[in-house]
């Protein structure tokens, strides 16, 4: 495991403000995993054939596993009676901190792959950097998660090349997905006030510094997949501040249904 850039002052979490910022930061990370996992879970049994069907549900499961560790950490920091399930299922729409990208629907297999690829490249870079966090728990989660994230990126990247450099139909469809989803990529690099506080404390990596590298990596693979790189006049944002797209309400109503209909129900 990598060495942290700096060690966290043991008194750091005794400050209420620091603790709240850390919780907010953790939710910003974890909510992306949760919503993407939910989107991917919708595809269970609906993949175009067995291999991607299994792969997509496996990826969904990995993300859910990671989200649990993050929410457990949040619950531990909160120190009240809340559990990982409360955090996942009992928040209101505006309280989720997930970016707009992960909420986008499974329009077709091309969209699923492009959404995944845009996220996987980011996630792998993020977890790589998080391994040097000043927070010991986050270092451990990053070290664990990156192995899985590498598998995910390989899967989505391979499919992007296969679809882009495939048939006329697959190329046209996947290009459409790239064009439509491109506007949501920039938000991955936005940071909130809480994020900034965690960056200063050495807990969070400064993802803005990796933005250029991200686009270089994504654009190289799009070129390899014989796809064109879109140009957009502006990028979309909002999810990170709780201002979600219309899709979010539908996602939550399905995801939260059981807990809302039968409060405190357990498997």
């Amino acid at each position: 495991m990598m060495k942290p850039i700096k060690e966290l002052n043991p008194q750091f979490l005794e400050s209420k403000e620091n603790k709240e910022h850390l919780i907010s930061y953790l939710l910003g990370v974890a909510d992306n995993y949760l919503i993407l996992a939910q989107r991917l879970g919708e595809l269970c049994g609906h993949g175009p054939n067995l291999e991607p069907d299994i792969a997509i549900t496996n990826i969904s499961l990995d993300l859910l596993g990671q989200v649990r560790s993050f929410y457990q950490y949040v619950a531990q920091l909160k120190g009240d009676k809340s559990t990982e399930d409360d955090i996942a299922f009992l928040r209101k729409e505006r309280e989720y901190r997930s970016v707009l990208l992960v909420q986008q629907p499974n329009t077709d297999f091309g969209y699923v792959i492009v959404r995944q690829f845009f996220f996987d490249v980011y996630n792998k870079m993020f977890l790589n950097a998080l391994q040097q966090s000043a927070d010991e728990t986050l270092r451990a989660l990053a070290f664990k998660g990156i192995k899985e994230a590498s598998y995910h990126e390989r899967f989505s990247g391979d499919w992007l090349k296969r679809l882009g450099d495939g048939t006329v139909e697959s190329k046209q469809r996947v290009q459409q997905a790239v064009n439509d989803l491109w506007v949501f990529t920039d938000e991955l690099f936005h940071s909130s006030k809480a994020d900034d506080a965690m960056i200063t404390a050495g807990v969070a990596p400064d993802m803005l510094q990796l933005r250029e590298y991200y686009y270089e990596k994504v654009e190289n693979l799009l070129t390899e997949a014989t796809l064109e790189i879109p140009e957009v006049p502006y990028f979309q944002k909002g999810g990170k501040e709780g201002l979600h797209s219309e899709y979010m309400g539908y996602i939550l109503s399905e995801m939260q249904y059981m807990q809302r209909a039968y409060p405190n129900s357990r498997w």
Binding site: L61, E136, A140, K144, K147, F155
Partner: protein
């Protein structure tokens, strides 16, 4: 490959009676997920390292451990230890043998594993006939830890336990 588990010998039998629910020939010791067992009278603390983050078997293993120890009159607390993360190197030799007999090819080392999954090298031995003339069908298998292979000689499809390091 041999791990220095900190496990009281008299409890080994109970631990070995708890199997991975997905791979019932592999007990938790052979799977290499038990880090430490601390006994205080009739109370037991088990430190356990999860394999894959989202592996549903982990919750079941935790419940099964509690049940197995309850039968012997112990109350059990399970504590997850994330660091250092679990690796397939922690599967014991006995565990690898049990996997192979069960029809799951045991993980190769890191380099060979990459060659197999990324460069289509023929290094995984068929669990049915032993031939090395095997091909990857899918990087993702029936569970997160496995990939799907097929033997080109006897045509038997089988699982390969991916190397995790």
């Amino acid at each position: 490959m041999i791990q220095n588990y900190n496990i009281p010998q008299e409890l080994l039998g109970i631990l070995e009676s708890v199997k991975d629910p997905e791979i019932p020939v592999l007990n938790v010791i052979d799977l290499g997920v038990i880090r430490e067992v601390i006994v205080d009278g009739k109370e037991i603390l088990i430190k356990l390292t999860p394999t894959y983050s989202g592996c549903p078997a982990m919750d079941v293993i935790g419940d099964d451990l509690e049940r197995a120890f309850a039968k012997a009159g112990y109350t059990t607390t399970i504590q997850l230890v994330m660091s250092p993360p679990w690796t397939t190197d922690w599967i014991t030799d006995r565990g690898r043998k049990a996997l192979e007999e069960y029809g799951i090819a045991a993980p190769l080392d890191e380099v060979a594993d990459k060659d197999v999954l990324l460069n289509n090298k023929k290094l995984v031995k068929c669990t049915n006939c032993g031939s090395q003339n095997t091909k990857l069908i899918s990087q993702f298998g029936s569970t997160a830890c496995k990939a799907m292979f097929q033997c080109e000689d006897c045509h038997e499809p089988f699982d390969y336990f991916k190397c995790l390091k």
